[in-house]
């Protein structure tokens, strides 16, 4: 390869881009574009099928207002009414809300301790290590763990709150890690100036650090919520499956992922259609949560 490759008939023989470099450039751009296109294909297919199959179920009468018992009005009329997804939708919302109520305060507390007090101490690093391990634990393991401890261990049955506890275990490392990142982004100069004003550390945390980090932490929490809302395995042997709507978390509680799972097992066309509708509902639910997270983080003061 000669250092002075002849320019391809350009006006400037010294500074023109060589033909070989131009060809490589075109080829590499093509490869990258093709890779992007290939990655988009399954994504677009999923969206297409969700809309194609799910939309008609979703817009059928009573899809959101009847339970999957078929007992209530409307959905898939005729002899074989199988009902909508009311219990699953409400169940998912309640289970995830309770899970957040458990995971968010604990997670933010741990993150605050790590950033404000533990810093780089050995104990803090041990905690970080275990939080990382927790992140990598498959969700079904959390489900098994709660099954052993809260169901077999207490000789009781499935209950919505046990599903919430399982999901909160899943959310905890996500909340801790994201809150830790955001809290450590709060400039040290702000803490310093508050301390230099004669503020006790707890007041610095509550009046300066937390308000500054708030929007960023909300983003992390919402991402954890979105993650938890889509989980099937942790609820399978903790919250159980049920057809009827209940808002009592000590009873079996239905959820969207489990409704989809059950409908696929049932295997009739009507079940499949309801599963598509439930899947589209779940995706939209998570999309809303994710978009809220994006909106809030775009208003973050920490960039």
């Amino acid at each position: 390869m000669s250092a002075a490759a002849p320019a391809a008939g350009g006006i400037n023989a010294r500074y023109g881009v060589s033909a070989r470099r131009r060809r490589t450039d075109v080829a590499m751009r093509g490869v990258l574009l093709a890779g992007t296109a290939i990655a988009l294909v399954p994504l677009l297919l999923i969206i297409y099928y969700l809309l194609h199959k799910g939309l008609s179920s979703m817009t059928s009468g009573g899809f959101f207002t009847s339970d999957p018992t078929g007992a209530s009005a409307g959905f898939f009329g005729g002899a074989q009414k199988i009902g909508g997804i009311k219990s699953a939708l409400l169940g998912t919302v309640e289970i995830v809300l309770i899970a957040s109520a458990i995971a968010v305060p604990i997670g933010i507390g741990v993150a605050l301790w790590l950033v404000e007090y533990g810093r780089n101490s050995v104990y803090a690093n041990i905690i970080r290590f275990f939080v990382d391990v927790l992140t990598g634990v498959p969700s079904i393991v959390f489900g098994l763990f709660i099954y052993i401890v809260l169901i077999v261990g207490t000789g009781s049955t499935y209950a919505g709150w046990k599903g919430s506890v399982t999901l909160s275990l899943l959310m905890l490392p996500i909340v801790i890690r994201s809150a830790e990142v955001v809290l450590s982004l709060v400039p040290g100069a702000l803490r310093e100036s508050a301390l230099a004003l004669g503020a006790p550390r707890w007041r610095v945390i509550f009046k300066v650090v937390l308000p500054t980090a708030a929007s960023g932490m909300v983003t992390g929490v919402l991402l954890a919520v979105a993650r938890a809302a889509g989980e099937t395995a942790p609820l399978l042997f903790t919250a159980g499956v049920t057809n009827v709507t209940t808002l009592n978390p000590t009873h079996y509680q239905n959820s969207l992922p489990l409704q989809i799972y059950n409908d696929f097992i049932a295997g009739t066309t009507q079940n499949f259609n309801r599963a598509w509708g439930a899947a589209l509902t779940l995706v939209l639910l998570i999309l809303i949560v994710n978009l809220s997270a994006r909106f809030i983080s775009s208003r973050s003061r920490l960039g």
Binding site: R119, N120, P187, A189, L190, E192, S193, A194, L195, A196, L197, G198, A199, P200, R201, W202, R203, V204, K207, V208, P211, T212, A214, R301
Partner: protein, 297 residues
């Protein structure tokens, strides 16, 4: 002076403040009581508060950054600390309100006497120390979530001071920082919307709101343009009637303009301190002369 000043350990903090302060005092280095009994610092005759450093040492881990400094800051005066980068001048100043020990692994030894009382005593409440000694940092750092008003009020709220007259106190502090006229019509706008120089005066107002006895300024103008710098310097001239001012500066001309006395530091040692005019025109130490004439630094 000493009589009208509550001792740091008995300042009226709310119970939870005290709990916090007590817990944090563990980090304080108990000063060895051996040695000659500390004579009360000679308090300057003018109104104000005198500050004295005795054998002040500051460490980062094992590295000694400030190597035993004895220095007096006279009441009602501006004292400038000059010296090349890394000479320990910022570290030394951060020891005065005990901010140095906030850095993990850092600690300080020796005595800092404010009106004769040792701020490094074993029962001293850091919260009370920092309320008596305000600090303005290099970069203007108003609290980003707070309005102009709240930024100044934060000084009071954060330090747990209660009682009415918040509005008057905020106005007084903003007037004291020569910022009132510029912001009086937009007190509810965010503090970070101000210009750099205004932000720095906002930070000064925030410190003044707590009514400190000493104001530490760590290169307060290094991030500002010349006009904003001039305003801060005029402000320093006014403030020294009320508070004792210690200003760290990289800018020798600034020291010459604002300081009554100037101290020159080099590699953690105090080389020379004296009247500013003497330091710049007639220094006793050859190193001082070389620095102020620009031979190094």
């Amino acid at each position: 002076m000493t009589a009208d000043r509550t001792t740091p350990s008995s300042v009226d903090v709310s119970p939870d403040d005290t709990a916090d302060g007590t817990e944090r005092t563990r980090a304080a280095q108990p000063v060895p009581s051996a040695g000659p009994a500390p004579a009360p610092a000679p308090v300057s005759s003018s109104a104000g508060h005198a500050l004295r450093l005795e054998q002040l040492r500051a460490f980062y881990g094992d590295a000694e950054q400030v190597k035993g400094i004895d220095l007096d800051f006279n009441a009602g005066e501006v004292t400038a600390i000059i010296g090349p980068s890394g000479c320990g001048k910022s570290t030394m100043v951060r020891c005065i309100n005990r901010m140095h020990e906030e850095i993990p692994g850092a600690h300080a030894e020796g005595r800092v006497l404010l009106d004769g009382e040792n701020l490094y005593g074993p029962t001293v409440d850091l919260v009370a120390v920092r309320r008596a000694i305000g600090m303005v940092f290099q970069k203007p750092n108003p609290f980003p979530t707070m309005s102009i008003f709240d930024n100044v009020a934060a000084g009071l709220k954060l330090s747990g001071a209660r009682g009415g007259g918040l509005r008057e106190k905020v106005e007084g502090a903003l007037r004291g920082a020569s910022l009132w006229e510029e912001v009086k019509d937009r007190l509810s706008e965010p503090g970070i919307g101000l210009s750099g120089g205004q932000q720095q005066r906002l930070c000064i107002a925030r410190s003044l709101a707590v009514e400190p006895e000493v104001l530490l300024m760590d290169e307060p103008c290094s991030a500002l343009d010349p006009i904003a710098t001039l305003k801060i310097e005029e402000l320093i001239e006014e403030l020294k009637q009320r508070v004792t001012i210690v200003i760290v500066t990289h800018n020798m001309q600034q020291a010459a303009r604002v300081a009554d006395r100037t101290a020159f530091m080099l590699t953690g040692d105090l080389v020379e301190v004296g009247q500013t005019s003497d330091i710049f025109t007639n220094p006793r130490d050859s190193r001082t002369e070389e620095y102020v004439t620009g031979k190094f630094g």
